[in-house]
Symmetry: C2
Subunit: 118 residues, 2 copies
Amino acid sequence: MAEDRLSLVFGALADPIRRAILIRLTEGEATVAELAAPFDVSQPAISKHLRVLEHAGLVSRSRRATARLSRLEAEPLREVTTWLARYQRFWDESHERLDELLAALQARQDDDARHGHG
Amino acid sequence: MAEDRLSLVFGALADPIRRAILIRLTEGEATVAELAAPFDVSQPAISKHLRVLEHAGLVSRSRRATARLSRLEAEPLREVTTWLARYQRFWDESHERLDELLAALQARQDDDARHGHG
DNA sequence: CCGTTCCAAAACCAGATGGTTATAGAGTAG
DNA sequence: CTACTCTATAACCATCTGGTTTTGGAACGG
């Protein structure tokens, strides 16, 4: 344990069921039973996933009668996006590299064409 | 196994050492020894981390003499950012909620002040 | 050819993770 | 109170993960 927040958030997002839960929660609060319905896993399994999401700060919880409502908390996702922003120039650069490559290939084809036909 | 790409990428990012390796690679290609230097772990541990990063598509590898060079591949990070973009409106909304809360508190304080002072 | 350098693979281990079933608890309805 | 509903907890299990040490292999330098 003693894990940093970023690791907790990335770890929470590394599971397809947990990501699907987050997507469902963008439509509004939901009970455990509602969140469990789409998946072929037991209720305790969903409860565990919710605990992971809550621990990462991605979900907050409240009660309504006997049910527990989960609510999306998107703030950690903003932090993650901020962390990712530093790499933006690198995928921009890889696009530039790709553009260069395509330009080079095009130039070579043009060159081949000239030598071949002329 | 049989894991989807997004899970692989998030999983790869869920480890502080791997994130630090990615940050180091933004400065340019590096050997395994160079990547291992800042950390108090063995060389095979770093090799394993690199395999995880490579498997997630975040790193590509080449040779130079006996050394293996790792290079940052940021494309998967763009995909992750795209996935995260859908939540942007939710952290925007939570800011709105916070603003509303602060406004409500302010209004109540003003109200209390009026009643309290006359 | 031979040693050295740099790294990967193998074998192993402790602890985390994701799942299960069975049980307990909190709240509501009657 | 009782019974019922919804969910959490407990106990257990298999597998994954991140680490280790040891061994093996590929490519240069002499």
